[in-house]
Symmetry: C2
């Protein structure tokens, strides 16, 4: 075996290990979001506590991927595609870490809400809306991580385009929650928590979009330049 081949194989092994950690982070972040929303829907404080506890592992993995990636760059001096692969892993791990934070924030609210906050309004309907929002966000996350595994820029672009759907659903939930708050002041605290949960899920979608942009960059070497329709359109909601 030549020296050159030896170096190439060592880099590939490094990259496989990084990719395996990304896969672990992805699976963990997805579970955290799904569990946080299940906990919300069933008012299950124990499940919410488990989500909160899991976050430390995700944070650890992110730091580990970052350190490992930097060491690979120092040791192997990768160029072009190889370098983008490593940088891509660093960026994706940062997004997945943030997804975990968002899930943890939802879980913390569940712990608060489940201790007897009144749900004397169409809570079930809103929570179904949140579940729907979460299922699209999770699908986006899954699709973009698959796109990363397969280095599929076209599939990543589709994820990015679909973010509009999440934004539209979030905006409609936002309006609905405001309406419930106006109908009965006793709903306000509960609905405020749900507003922030919805916002967190919308942000999960944004991170899927960020990852899509990273996958595009890794595969093509180009940054996506056109301004994408950015997340939170509720910032523009005036009086109802």
């Amino acid at each position: 075996m030549t020296e050159k081949n030896h170096i190439v194989r060592a880099f590939d092994e490094d990259l496989m290990r990084l990719s395996a950690e990304i896969a672990e982070m992805g699976a963990m972040a997805e579970s955290m979001v799904a569990d946080a929303v299940s906990a919300l829907s069933r008012m299950d404080a124990k499940l919410a506590q488990r989500v909160i506890a899991t976050d430390a592992r995700l944070d650890f993995l992110q730091r580990d991927i970052e350190e490992r990636a930097i060491l690979i760059i120092v040791k192997r001096q990768p160029m072009a595609l190889d370098l983008r692969e490593v940088v891509g892993c660093m960026r994706i791990s940062a997004d997945l870490e943030r997804v975990g934070d968002l899930a943890k924030n939802i879980a913390k609210r569940v712990v608060a809400i489940s201790t007897g906050l009144g749900a004397n309004f169409g809570a079930k309907k809103v929570i179904i809306g949140l579940e729907h929002l979460s299922s699209i966000a999770l699908e986006q996350l899954k699709n973009v991580l698959d796109a990363h595994t397969q280095r599929d820029a076209a599939s990543a672009s589709r994820v990015r385009e679909r973010d509009d759907e999440i934004d539209a659903l979030y905006t409609s939930l936002f309006r609905e929650l405001l309406t419930y708050m106006m109908e009965d002041p006793r709903n306000i605290t509960f609905c405020t928590h749900l507003l922030f949960c919805a916002k967190n899920l919308e942000r999960v979608g944004d991170h899927a979009t960020n990852i899509a942009e990273t996958v595009h960059y890794v595969v093509t070497g180009q940054q996506m330049v056109d301004e994408r329709p950015k997340g939170d359109t509720t910032a523009a909601i005036a009086a109802p």
Copy 2:
């Protein structure tokens, strides 16, 4: 001049350029937050639009710092402190980019609110509270960027410890806003926007804390391990 000295000087020049970009990003992020809150306080949609427009430059600088940092690592193969300096710049630029996003989000809400949303409640008092929150967050940001410039881990630790103050103020504003919402349903939309503005400012404080952790890591080579009191305690607010 020896080859070794030549390489050292080239690295120092690279690092100085990175640091200059960090300083530019820091100044820009601070202005964006200050301007977004001024725009809110004066209901100045034009100033808000300027904040929104500035964000693209901040995003560009972040990508530029990241690319430049990676190239430095590839070319110079820095070790130990030198490597941490470069990685530190990457991390800090990511936090500053997020601070810009948060300022932009506040500015977008100002554009919505300023188009005639009724402020038929103690809006002035809440906005003074938001200004206070913003002034502490900006002070934290300024102090931590100074700590980075001076490689002062002790000063960075003080920033991290002071984050409690922001959290306490945010929690009190959160409760106050809920009260106004309950008093009069006509306040709900307006107060909801202010809730998200307050949350955004609290998040600016979190990013100052992240930067403090990065500065500590750069200077000492150690990660701060103890779990810091994390941001959003309002997640635990139950019925008032």
